[in-house]
């Protein structure tokens, strides 16, 4: 049942050139991160135990985790709503015999899937970048996979909010602007003990190297993320179901 909805959502993304974003955002992050790593090589690699894979990763995710990831997920949310906003897609879709909950969930699924693809392409570019620049140590696969997976889960609450926002606001640029501002607030979240509750900060908290992360306990963090996800999802869906469709 949900598969029909997802296949419908996926099909509508044809010719939207989303793969550009899925590839370019990680590529830029990796280029910036590795350049930064070599620019500050002496500072970052001052101890003999320092692993270049971990140190460079910190530089890559500095840009990616805090800024690019939350902004890109907002763009994905805007894209899955854009086809609906443009030419009456909402009324077309919602006057069909469809469940509104499923409509929201399938759109969210597509957004999260696109984020996952972007996460995977980040890892691929990073490994390629590291191999080209000849990092000596073995690749810390376990750490990278956990970081990618956890930061993906960290985007769940964020994406539900962004999807709701993109449904409400017709324009493409307004949610994007709001998103950029809220992403910049992540820097403030790092210094607050409530930072973990801030959806925009959640992905960046678990993507950075262990010694940089402000997280003390992973299980607590995961339960917080899941709780905020359930809350935002339930709120977003119930608002989505009750909203009148004027245009």
């Amino acid at each position: 049942m949900i598969l029909d909805y997802i296949s419908f959502e996926w099909f509508k993304l044809k010719r939207q050139k989303i793969w550009l974003l899925v590839l370019i955002v990680p590529l830029v992050s990796v280029l910036l991160g590795i350049a930064n790593f070599f620019g500050n090589y002496d500072v970052l690699m001052d101890k003999p135990v320092d692993n270049p894979w971990l140190e460079a990763w910190t530089q890559v995710t500095l840009f990616y985790g805090i800024l690019f990831l939350p902004i890109a997920s907002g763009i994905y949310a805007a894209i899955v709503c854009r086809t609906e906003h443009l030419n009456g897609g909402w009324k077309l879709q919602l006057s069909l015999p469809v469940s509104k909950t499923m409509v929201f969930l399938s759109k969210l699924f597509v957004v999260l899937f696109l984020i996952l693809l972007m996460q995977i392409s980040l890892v691929l570019f990073y490994i390629i970048g590291g191999l080209i620049t000849k990092f000596q140590e073995p690749i810390p696969w376990y750490f990278i996979c956990t970081a990618i997976l956890l930061s993906w889960i960290g985007t769940f609450s964020l994406s539900s909010i962004q999807l709701w926002l993109s449904f409400k606001v017709k324009s493409f640029s307004i949610p994007l602007g709001i998103n950029v501002v809220l992403s910049l607030l992540v820097f403030a979240a790092y210094t607050s003990k409530w930072g973990m509750f801030y959806p925009w900060a959640q992905p960046s908290f678990v993507i950075s190297a262990p010694e940089e992360s402000p997280i003390d306990s992973l299980p607590i963090f995961i339960s917080i993320v899941m709780t905020t996800f359930v809350i935002t999802l339930v709120l977003a869906i119930s608002k989505f179901k009750r909203s009148d469709l004027e245009s």
Binding site: S7, F8, K12, G88, G89, K91, L96, D244
Partner: protein, 306 residues
């Protein structure tokens, strides 16, 4: 006759303005129901409520005998619709638009899509991106999408809006054939009576949110009975003379007299009476009002009251 749509006391208010005011709609099985009214009268709001896109402030909607509020998905399975300007996915081709909707409706097979493309005459343009379609083609695609799920009820909101006369004719022929071909009930809204005149058997007229007429189109035609218009040099005197003869007479602002009686003998008699009083008779002529005149009169009358 089985009722397909039954709306009672349907009302929609926004803040303080009432857009749709306690209307009672009734559409029977097999009807082609023309839903008429000037722009901004509340047609689209009503249709959006019938499709569950917006919630009524007050009132009840029953479609196929079921409450819309509690059976939305079930009811929508039997409805194909086109709301206001055409809805489509511009980044997809005509074929892909139907294919996307087909996945959601779980309609079987590619043949159904070919059939639809043939019905709405888009078979040759099926592989072009819909954003390159003309308005008429988009509108026909919209009707195609509405037909995809083989609906029992088709709700079309202004399907000929913005089309040229040839396009209007095309859409009209397409819609006219539907009930006989597929046995479906059609509700079609328009701001022009002439557009539904040739297809509708039942008409509802909405103005400023009020349903001011709902009946068979013949009933509306009866209102378009002929009148006799008389112009004389002293209309007031003439009015009193005709009244004395026991006839209904109306004096308009333009100093014209109207009587509803059209029998030859009576008219001759009246004219004779007027001449006896030394009145100069300028004109005596029959005025037949078109259906459009009635429609305009109905909508402007009600407009004046509120």
């Amino acid at each position: 006759m089985t009722k397909i749509i039954e709306a009672t006391q349907l009302t929609k208010e926004y803040k303080k303005t009432t857009v749709v005011n306690q209307i009672n709609l009734s559409v029977g099985q097999g009807d082609i129901y023309g839903f008429l009214g000037p722009n901004g009268a509340g047609k689209t709001t009503t249709i959006r409520m019938l499709l569950g896109l917006i919630k009524p402030t007050k009132g009840d909607i029953k479609i196929f005998g079921k409450e819309l509020a509690s059976h939305r998905i079930d009811i929508l399975k039997g409805i194909g619709s086109l709301v206001e300007y055409p809805s489509y996915y511009g980044n997809l081709t005509g074929f892909e638009n139907l294919e996307a909707i087909r996945r959601l409706l779980r309609v079987e097979g590619n043949n159904r899509i070919k059939e639809i493309l043939h019905t709405v005459g888009l078979l040759n343009a099926k592989d072009k991106l819909v954003k390159t379609y003309s308005l008429g083609m988009k509108q026909r695609l919209g009707i195609g999408i509405a037909l995809l799920g083989s609906p029992k009820l088709l709700i079309l909101d202004e399907p000929t809006n913005g089309l040229d006369p040839a396009g209007i004719q095309e859409i009209r022929e397409l819609i006219k054939g539907l009930p006989s071909q597929f046995g479906i009930t059609v509700m079609i809204s328009s701001h022009l009576l002439s557009e539904v005149d040739q297809m509708a058997n039942k008409v509802g007229i909405i103005n400023r949110g009020n349903l001011i007429f709902q009946d068979h189109i013949e009933e509306l035609r009866k209102k378009s009975s002929t009148k006799i218009n008389i112009r004389v040099n002293n209309p007031r005197l003439a009015e009193s003379i005709i009244k004395k003869e026991g006839l209904d007479v109306a004096l308009t602002a333009k100093e014209e007299l109207f009587i509803n009686e059209c029998e030859d003998g009576k008219i001759a008699y009246i004219v004779e009476q007027l001449m006896r009083q030394q009145l100069s008779i300028y004109r005596v002529y029959e005025e037949k009002r078109s259906l459009e005149d009635i429609f305009l009169e109905l909508t402007s009358e009600a407009g004046g009251v509120s």
